[in-house]
Symmetry: C2
Subunit: 196 residues, 2 copies
């Protein structure tokens, strides 16, 4: 990495948790300067606008989460084990989040849905990948006989992600991870009953 | 209502959907002036700060939702019918939201959890009431024999609200109400299997 690339990466590493906690609109230029220890000119030398910085900070945060999901699924071949690994990932997202502020897809989806189309598209892209992961696990699991046949893949994907992201919201709102624990316990119960 | 009270109410009615769509931090003073057709001085004559305006706009939005939930439950005595009314309320929240921008509790929870304690406390209070509604329906339903005994009320409350709020997020992110439809269909299936 060149010096410039290093500086760029270091800005993103510092700004990603700021945006994830305070939001795109809630993070002022002075917050960004304080967080990075850089002047305005230095930041805008590397990123042409606050929006550009936010888009790349989102990509940075999402790449870390994506690596985390892959690491937690590594070595797990059975579809049910892979779904449980995804539940553990969401548990970790509230117990010990890889990026301070919780789930950047959730945070960005809520903030950007009506207000910031470029960021909303980033959140959609990341959510598309998360949904594709769940769909793939269930579809392949059915093909291999690890999951019963006839499961409505689209319904399971929407409901599982809705419940887990909603549980992130509740756990963070109350600063109490019990909402995630309960949600995961119930989803495991549904998996055992409807999928196995 | 005095003239001053009327002006105050009219400001809240115009600002509540603005905050619900763009967020507290995403709504600038010039957005607020444009939305209300008033000058800065006129707005600050009625509200001492942007935070005060946001807190009261949240209360205004929540009061409308609360009335809507009560109206949809009116006349429904049986616990299961009341739970289905709550599902219909969430369906309406994405099909034809009473306040533009979706669910103000969800939006405020996500934006304020790390960044704005006074607003976060408002979102917690509203969520407390929504949770209490679900808890009451299940507890009374159990006492009356409309819901089977031994149901874990806390788990049901957390999971049902998590799934529904998460489905609001997905439906708004994709501008596609199918995520809410699927989530409600699956919750009905769980209600019929686990509660009845």
């Amino acid at each position: 990495m060149s010096k410039g690339e290093q500086t760029r990466a270091s800005i993103l590493a510092r700004v990603a948790p700021l945006f994830n906690q305070q939001g795109y609109f809630g993070s002022s230029l002075s917050d960004i300067m304080q967080q990075t220890g850089m002047e305005k000119g230095g930041i805008y030398h590397h990123f042409k606008s606050k929006e550009q910085l936010a888009l790349e900070a989102f990509d940075y945060a999402y790449a870390i989460l994506d690596q985390r999901i892959r690491a937690m699924m590594a070595g797990k071949k059975h579809a049910i084990e892979r779904l449980y690994a995804l539940l553990s990932y969401f548990q970790e997202l509230v117990d010990d989040p890889p990026i301070a502020g919780g789930c950047p897809i959730l945070n960005t989806a809520i903030e950007a849905d009506d207000a910031e189309p470029a960021l909303r598209d980033r959140a959609r892209g990341a959510m598309d990948e998360l949904r594709a992961t769940v769909q793939r696990i269930i579809t392949r699991g059915s093909e291999r006989g690890e999951i019963r046949s006839g499961v409505d893949v689209e319904t399971w994907t929407s409901v599982m992600i809705a419940a887990l992201e909603g549980a992130v919201m509740l756990s963070r709102l109350y600063q109490d991870t019990v909402h995630m624990h309960r949600t995961i316990t119930y989803i495991r119960h549904c998996i055992e009953r409807d999928l196995v």
